[in-house]
Structures are given as structure tokens and as C-alpha cells.
């Protein structure tokens, strides 16, 4: 079966600026992949190429085997942009209804009610967009992205305007869509969210993927720190399972061991190391 999303050596130039420099990435069905990176790293450009808003300069992007931007590809995606706005005079129900018509979704009132329920806006169906908080609008945006049961969900900073309760709603929602086999490409600055939600993570810096793996892989042990009479030393590339052996060897060598600590990096450590601690 084809991947929900496949990018091969994707490049994008905006005049002299290179937004993407040969990005390759795959998202399988039912997989949630997180895109991390500082501002301007190319995360939004990658998502926009995937949904046909931006044409790549070189390389190929496909959605369910169809060229990104093609009619078939657009029928298979749901997209929430980082910067988006809905007509202020429309109610939540009318926004979803408009997008159902544009998407050709036959879901009708049932689908509208289900989606608004899913994002916690069931009681706000008649509320106008202009009267909604930013968080409510963002949840409405997620609901419109889910219209027509897309095979790939492209979410660009979907939780940036949400409070903790709203983020929890989105986390539950992503778990739900993943269980339905929907693939998700999630761009975010919120490392904790990504760590909790994503199956795999790719870190983009200056248009290149500089690190990729599961959150566990990227948060792997980075050595064992041992405090002895002669000082503190770090044995790199050692893990928790190596600690007893290291202590035994040091004691056998006549060292007095006062403390042992397994050094485990967080996703944040990996991220900051990958981006060189540059501010976003």
C-alpha cells in the first residue's frame, strides 16, 4: 500500500532563499509524525507543498500515491494552516457546511454534529466565528480539516492558541484519528506535545532534516556520570544497563565510587542540540 505522504528530495526556493533543501520524509497510514524546527526552518513550506498551496522547485511529494496539489491528492487531505481565518459572520455550523460543499462531502448534518462534538464545540454550533475565542476558532479549524475523513491530516501549529484543556482535547482527538488509520503530519513548537502525541519526529533546520526518529530514540541515554574520589567523569555511549559493570570495574580498579547517574537527554535536549540552540 502507498504511503499516506511521501516527500523525496523536496526543494523549494523563494527567490534567493532556500526554504527546503532536499527533504525526504514518509508518513504511513495511522502514523503521527511531528515536524520540529525553529521559525523559518521550512515546516510550513513542507505542509503547504503537501496540500498544493506551494509548488516545489524540485523533488516530488505525493499524497496516497497522487502528486501533491492534484485533485486526487486534495481529496485525500485535511489541512489546518498556521495562519487561517474563517468568515466572521458565519457560525461554526455554517463554516463546516461550506467546507463540506467544497470538499464534496456527503456527510451532511450528521457529520457536522459529529465533528463539532469531537472538538468540543457541540454547544457552539450556532456561535459566529467573530464571537469565538482564538482557541475555539482553532478547534473549529481542526474540525474543518477532518471533513470527509481524509487519509492524511496536515496540521500546522494546531495547538498554538489552545489552553491546556484545549490541548488535551486535541491530543485525544489525534489519538482517535490515528486509531481510525488516518496519517497525521503535525508541525509544532511544543516539544512536550510532540513527545506525547507523535510516533516519529523529524527536526528541520534551514530546510534540511537534521534529526529523525521516535521520541524515545531522540530522548535516548547519553552516558553514565560517575562521581569518584578523583572527580566526576562521564562515560559516553553508556546506558542504564552499563552502570553496574562500570561501577564494578571502577571498584576493582581501586576507585571509591560516591555516586552514579544515568544521563538521559530529553527531546528538548535533542532538539536544542540539533538546532544549535538558535532562537526561533
Amino acid at each position: 500500500m502507498t504511503s499516506a505522504f511521501l516527500a523525496e528530495d523536496l526543494r523549494k526556493h523563494y527567490g534567493p532563499k532556500q526554504a527546503l533543501r532536499g527533504v525526504s520524509l514518509e508518513v504511513a497510514d495511522g502514523e503521527v509524525v511531528g515536524l520540529l524546527g525553529p521559525n523559518g526552518a521550512g515546516k510550513s513550506t513542507l505542509a503547504k507543498i503537501a496540500c498544493g498551496l506551494v509548488a516545489p522547485t524540485a523533488g516530488v511529494a505525493t499524497i496516497a500515491g497522487h502528486r501533491a496539489g492534484s485533485l486526487a491528492a486534495r481529496q485525500a487531505i485535511g489541512y489546518l494552516a498556521e495562519l487561517f481565518r474563517f468568515p466572521g459572520c458565519a457560525s461554526a455550523d455554517e463554516v463546516i457546511s461550506l467546507h463540506q460543499r467544497l470538499a464534496g462531502s456527503p456527510g451532511g448534518a450528521g457529520e457536522r454534529a459529529e465533528l463539532l462534538e469531537l472538538v468540543g464545540l457541540a454547544d457552539a454550533a450556532a456561535v459566529r466565528v467573530s464571537a469565538m475565542s482564538k482557541g475555539m476558532q482553532q478547534r473549529l479549524g481542526i474540525a474543518q480539516a477532518l471533513i470527509g475523513s481524509p487519509r492524511l491530516l496536515l496540521l500546522d501549529e494546531p495547538t498554538s492558541a489552545l489552553d491546556p484543556a484545549g490541548r488535551r482535547v486535541v491530543r485525544r482527538l489525534l489519538a482517535e484519528v490515528r486509531s481510525r488509520g488516518v496519517a497525521v503530519l503535525l508541525s509544532s513548537h511544543l516539544l512536550g506535545e510532540v513527545e506525547l502525541i507523535c510516533d516519529r519526529v523529524a527536526i528541520l533546520v534551514d530546510g534540511e532534516v537534521v534529526e529523525r526518529g521516535t521520541p524515545a530514540e531522540l530522548s535516548s541515554a547519553r552516558g553514565v556520570e560517575v562521581e569518584t574520589a578523583s572527580g566526576t567523569r562521564v562515560i559516553e555511549a553508556a546506558g542504564r544497563e552499563d552502570a553496574p559493570r562500570i561501577v564494578a570495574e571502577l571498584v576493582a580498579a581501586g576507585e571509591r565510587v560516591y555516586g552514579v547517574r544515568v544521563l538521559a537527554s530529553t527531546l528538548e535536549d535533542s532538539y536544542l542540540e540539533a538546532v544549535g540552540e538558535q532562537p526561533g
Partner: protein, 292 residues
């Protein structure tokens, strides 16, 4: 980016969306207020104009048809105002349709849907043009009724001038739509009204050229009317309201302040249609290549 089959329901949804946005931007409210003010002033002005001219007794020698002269002049003014208001509506219904809406994030959620950029743009133009045409015809009809009631004046041709004005406003909306692909909203509005003004200046140059018998000015005016056919349609509309008025009255009407009437060739309607289609095609091509 890709060609998609025309989906009528999606196209209708886009038209409805465009109207909702126009309501939100209070375009209709502004134009309605302007229209009421214009029609009230026009009614008042026409009433006094017909009454005063009658009192002057210009028609005593039977050389001048004072009702025809007054009616043609004030109704010519009404046609200018109608075109101007139509241009305002056509421009504001298409303001920021592409670049402006893309900058505010309104466009992206719509464009990613499987309906195709050409369908989206043409639908938005069709909606704006339809509203503009209906509006122009409505204001034209009310002005016509007012002139008839207040001055017992009916133009030589009733329907064709209204249609010409409506077509002129639809062309301005098309130009505005094209500008929206490449310009931010403010620049778009300024550019369209400068083009509108350029067309009117072209028409005036032609009038001056005709009065001074200057082939150069007339040639410039002719080029302007080809490049900006809404002006040619406006001149044609003016011509039609007094096309059968002859003698001194006819000459005076032609020299009036809101004249600039010029009979267009048979090809004008065809050229206007081709021109509009070409402008929209350019807009579609520009939109298709645009990164959002």
C-alpha cells in the same frame, strides 16, 4: 495548480461565501448609503433643473427642446454616477480576493479543497459581476423612473444604455479581480480607481479633441477606449440616450458637461466580451502560479 472539473455546488458555495464576506466588510451597506444619497440628490436636482429650465423659456423659438436638453443632461449625469457607484461596488466585491485574503489566511482553507483554483476565481468573479450588474441595472432603472416622473423625459433608447453601463461595471470588476492577484488590497483599490479615472480622462480628451478638431487627441482617446473598453461602453450608453435627438438640441446635448458621447462600432460588444474573458484568463493564470 491543477485543473479540476467544474463542480457547480462548490462554485455556488464560493459565490455564497463571497457574498457573506462582502456583508462582513459592509460593502453593501456603504454602497446602499451612497446610492440613497445619490438618488435623493438626483431627484432633487432633476426636479429643480426641469422647473428652472421651463421658467427660462428656452424653447420659445422652438429651436431647442428644453425637456430633451435638460433630460439628456441630467440623465447623463445619473449614468455617470451609476457607473461610478457600480465601479465602487465591483471593486469592493473583488477587493483582496486573492492576495489580500491569502495574507489574512482566509483563502488557504478554501484553496486546498478539491475544486480547482480556476473554478474558485471564476466563481468569485461571476458572483461579483452578477451583483454589480444587478445593482447598476437597478440604479439605472430608478434614475430613469425619477427622470420620467419629475421631468416627463424618456431617453431615445431605454434598455441598451443600461446594459452598456452594466457591462462597463462588470469590466471594471474583472480588472479589479486581476489586480487582486498581484496587489495588496489598498494598492488594488487605488490602482483600479486610477484606471477608472484614466478611462474617463481618455473620454474627455476625445471630446476636447473633437471640439478642437485635434486628430492627435482623438487618436489618444480612441486608443484609451480600446485599452479600457468600459469607457467606450459608457460613451456608447451616453450616445444612445440622445441618438435620435437632432438639430440644435442634439448639438447642445453633445457639448454638455456629461457628454463625451460617442457611437461605438458594431465590434464593441464582441471586443468587450473578449477583453473581459482575457482579463479573467490572465487572473486565473496568475493565481495558478501563485504560492500561497
Amino acid at each position: 495548480m491543477t485543473r479540476a472539473p467544474l463542480r457547480l455546488d462548490a462554485a455556488r458555495a464560493i459565490v455564497g461565501f463571497a457574498f457573506a464576506e462582502s456583508l462582513r466588510r459592509r460593502v453593501f451597506a456603504v454602497v446602499l448609503v451612497l446610492t440613497v444619497i445619490f438618488l435623493a440628490l438626483y431627484g432633487l436636482g432633476s426636479y429643480f433643473a426641469f422647473r428652472e429650465v421651463e421658467n427660462l423659456g428656452l424653447g420659445g423659438a422652438a429651436l431647442i427642446d428644453e425637456r430633451q436638453l435638460t433630460g439628456s443632461t441630467v440623465f447623463g449625469l445619473a449614468m455617470f454616477a451609476t457607473l461610478f457607484l457600480g465601479a465602487v461596488l465591483g471593486t469592493f466585491l473583488t477587493i483582496g480576493v486573492v492576495r489580500g485574503d491569502a495574507e489574512t489566511g482566509l483563502l488557504q482553507p478554501l484553496v486546498v479543497r478539491p475544486l480547482g483554483r480556476p473554478t474558485m476565481l471564476v466563481s468569485r468573479y461571476a458572483g461579483a459581476a452578477a451583483a454589480t450588474v444587478i445593482y447598476v441595472l437597478g440604479v439605472y432603472a430608478i434614475a430613469l423612473g425619477l427622470t420620467r416622473v419629475l421631468g416627463d423625459y424618456t431617453p431615445d433608447s431605454v434598455i441598451a444604455p443600461g446594459l452598456a453601463l452594466a457591462a462597463a461595471a462588470a469590466i471594471i470588476a474583472a480588472i479589479s479581480m486581476l489586480a487582486s492577484v498581484f496587489m495588496a488590497s489598498t494598492a488594488q483599490g487605488i490602482a483600479v480607481f486610477m484606471i477608472f479615472g484614466a478611462g474617463l480622462v481618455g473620454g474627455l480628451l476625445g471630446q476636447i479633441g473633437s471640439a478642437l478638431d485635434s486628430p492627435s487627441l482623438e487618436r489618444i482617446a480612441e486608443i484609451v477606449t480600446w485599452v479600457l473598453p468600459f469607457e467606450a461602453l459608457y460613451q456608447q450608453a451616453l450616445y444612445l440616450i440622445s441618438s435620435e435627438t437632432l438639430g440644435i438640441t442634439g448639438a447642445l446635448v453633445q457639448l454638455g458637461p456629461f457628454g463625451g458621447a460617442q457611437q461605438a462600432g458594431a465590434g464593441l460588444v464582441v471586443w468587450a466580451a473578449v477583453y473581459t474573458a482575457a482579463v479573467i484568463a490572465l487572473a486565473v493564470a496568475g493565481f495558478a502560479r501563485r504560492d500561497l
